[in-house]
Symmetry: C2
Subunit: 468 residues, 2 copies
């Protein structure tokens, strides 16, 4: 428990003008059973133990220590008291609370340093057996210390000369298997089939530079196909080309190769490279938009517990995707995978709110999912990429729920079309085009049973296909 000073605010305390003066976090914890037993043995109530735990979170993430320390001359104790974080808004029932951090605890433009504080050591506390950090609300000064996305929704639309509608994109499946030459052939089919409006191709997250599919060759060949298709179809094409590498200089080299070959996007795996990589790649001003894949995020964000949205027991130690999405927008990615309604991966129904995190100018807290909202000031809205087992039968619902500023990414949902790849392209173009003509999907399928869209729906139906 926190010692030396109190880190729990008096009931009713609120931070003064938080968007100017504080970083705020919102958490839920479970108290460790042995800590509860020990507290009871000492005659301490569970309520008091929860207060101690909330105070310890505030202490450990700001100015505290586990034992009373020297407080004489030059001890730093007066400043530690003045600058300490305070736990407040304690919800004794749900074991939720907020922490308010004065700005002098942080460097404004240093996300890695901020995390070392607000989510640094708190998950190690023995007195808690589970914890979820739902959100952080950042003050104006911190938001304004970052440039945010270089392009965002409007910037990418301008590059693609596409003022409205969603973008459609395909990741080759099998995830790994095609050679660089074969991938370029696939790109040619995607870009030129159907009515020539298929927008993009994307590398899978585990496609790097491999013996049979080298980054450099793939990059050049696929981008050459994009340029050729643009000429032929009159429509702009994009390639989400995966530069992910643990060596940032190699990522920069790869980005330059994309730029030199006329590409407009690089793809970075933002969790496996890390926050400093994302910040540094953005600051490098490569001239490319950044598409952010989020491989590995499940090991940070997932908690398959009833308490994941507040009510009921929490199981693990997690930080929500809402929290991460907020920081990736701040750091300046132009597009982020945020799950999707109907997708194969677990997202606890957060995808629609994550879209708002990425796109709202002034984000309100969600009325059910614990969250804090955010004023975005100078930071542009960005694309949400919807993916994970999506197929043409999902389009209507995905677009209804997420809106038009999304990249819908179908891998198997195109390449698994029973009539082949070109048919897969047509099915997706149809699903998109009828949506924007306001023709209901089921009506179209019924009236056009020989359409490629109908064949796709016959195979995969409407909505989620697999428990995966």
């Amino acid at each position: 428990m926190a010692v030396q000073f109190d880190y729990v605010a008096k009931r009713g305390w609120k931070p003064n003008n938080p968007d100017e003066n504080y970083v705020i976090t919102l958490l839920k914890i479970e108290l460790d059973e042995s800590a509860v037993r020990e507290a009871k043995r000492q005659g301490k109530s569970e309520k008091k133990l929860f207060e101690d735990a909330a105070g310890t979170v505030a202490a450990e993430s700001s100015t505290g220590t586990w034992t009373k320390v020297y407080d004489g001359k030059d001890s730093g104790i007066p400043l530690a008291r003045a600058k300490r974080a305070m736990a407040y808004d304690l919800d004794y029932e749900r074991k939720m609370f907020k922490v308010a951090y004065p700005l002098d605890l942080f460097e404004m433009n240093n996300v890695s340093g901020l995390f070392a504080g607000i989510i640094g050591n708190i998950a190690g506390m023995k007195m808690v057996s589970a914890m979820r950090v739902y959100d952080a609300r950042l003050p104006r000064k911190m938001i304004e210390a970052f440039q945010g996305p270089a392009f965002g929704i409007d910037g990418v639309r301008k590059k693609l000369e596409k003022k409205e509608e969603c973008l459609v994109c395909t990741v080759p499946k099998p995830k790994i298997g095609r050679t660089d030459v074969e991938q370029a052939k696939l790109a040619r089919i995607l870009f030129n089939s159907g009515n020539g409006t298929y927008d993009g191709i994307k590398d899978d997250e585990n496609l790097l530079s491999l013996p049979f599919n080298s980054f450099d060759k793939r990059c050049k060949l696929v981008l050459a196909e994009a340029r050729a298709a643009e000429k032929k179809t009159g429509n702009k094409k994009f390639y989400l080309c995966n530069v992910t590498h643990s060596n940032i200089n190699e990522m920069l080299r790869r980005a330059k190769l994309i730029k030199d070959n006329g590409g407009i996007f690089m793809m970075i795996d933002v969790v496996t490279t890390g926050f400093a990589a994302v910040d540094s790649m953005r600051r490098a001003n490569t001239g490319l938009a950044i598409h952010a894949h989020r491989a590995m995020h499940g090991f940070i964000t997932r908690d398959n517990s009833p308490g994941v949205h507040g009510d009921g027991k929490l199981y693990g130690f997690s930080v929500s995707m809402i929290f991460l999405a907020k920081f990736f927008r701040l750091l300046g990615v132009d597009s982020l995978h945020g799950g999707s309604p109907l997708a194969k991966m677990e997202d606890y129904g957060e995808a629609i709110y994550i879209k708002d995190v990425l796109q709202a100018k002034e984000l309100k807290p969600h009325n059910k999912i614990p969250s804090l909202g955010q004023k975005w000031y100078n930071i542009k809205p960005i694309w949400m990429t919807a993916s994970g087992g999506l197929h043409p039968g999902d389009f209507e619902e995905v677009l209804d729920k997420l809106g038009d500023d999304i990249i819908i990414q179908c891998g198997g949902g195109l390449l698994g079309h029973p009539n082949g790849i070109e048919a897969g392209v047509k099915a997706i173009e149809q699903a998109r085009d009828i949506y924007y003509k306001k023709i209901p999907l089921k009506k179209f399928v019924k009236e056009n049973p020989k359409s490629e869209l109908a064949f796709a729906v016959k195979l995969w139906g409407y909505g989620p296909r697999v428990v995966y």
Copy 2:
């Protein structure tokens, strides 16, 4: 579930010469209850569902997809079959298994890319409700693709002219509160008190460049104290100076400032900056040793479940600290916080094995903690930093259990000494010195009741002080 091909090996299958040909991972999962119900409805046994899940892990992290895709000319299907990962050694009771990944799936020198595969999307699968990745065993080619630590244990000992014994170090507490000038004054006391053998001072993880304690000024002032104390005491001193920043160029600038001021160590928060930051800072060859703090790791590594070491139920989604420690050694840090026996933070009793991960030449799997071992080839052994609520009464046990190649870090356990800071220095020096003279701690305290060590023990006792 995995489709198109089988990703589960026949019973008894083993990878051929894995240290040459495969990356191996070791995992445990829990099956989602609704997936179990659905499987039963379909007449599928839980055993078969577990096999499906294991196969899906192998598929999703290598060459699979959720639906059968085009397998004609240029489809990549033959290579996807040949290069696919295989789940094997299925333990139906404990729901544990291994996955063997052929090397052609990866770039040898790209940890961020490797993670996008082996721990990329698997934590998102809806059919599992919990997952822990215990370990990865890396093949020779991957190990040899990295330089590893520039200095390691021997290199740092050489710089410090200290051939044997542990190192002792203090992080100022309060964590934040002292000005740069006050921190330098504390450094002077630490470096010059007692018998002048106190080794080091360290920044706390959330001490960055703040309005009242700027990085540049602190760096210069503390290193000046180190140089002055070396002259006065004849003993080398170190400062673990925290360069953590989400902008890698700023980290490099700070590293240069340390080097220019005669420092030998930089401290990086390796999770909040990320794997690419660590790799890139190492590759930059700054001439400094890298001290790795691990703030935020609890949100990746912690699972307070009975099943955390195999037997019993698992609660959350996690990757073990053993796994992370292995990669940080590979990426080239020279010292890593790895918990400690008697420490305040939860570590599931793994600290001693983590020390072996960091220091063994040929690491054997642990006989209780699920693990795979590792041949380290060219990669140097590194320091383990033991910290978290440690105090002088812990020294004997910590040194007995972890050996001499450790940095013992006491913050409150020095600065909270009842007789002040100098007394705290003396107490720690005494605890260390009697250990190397083979005098039992309790015996010394009994025979020297007026020693500073005895006063420390009177306050904090022996062993863990707090449920924290």
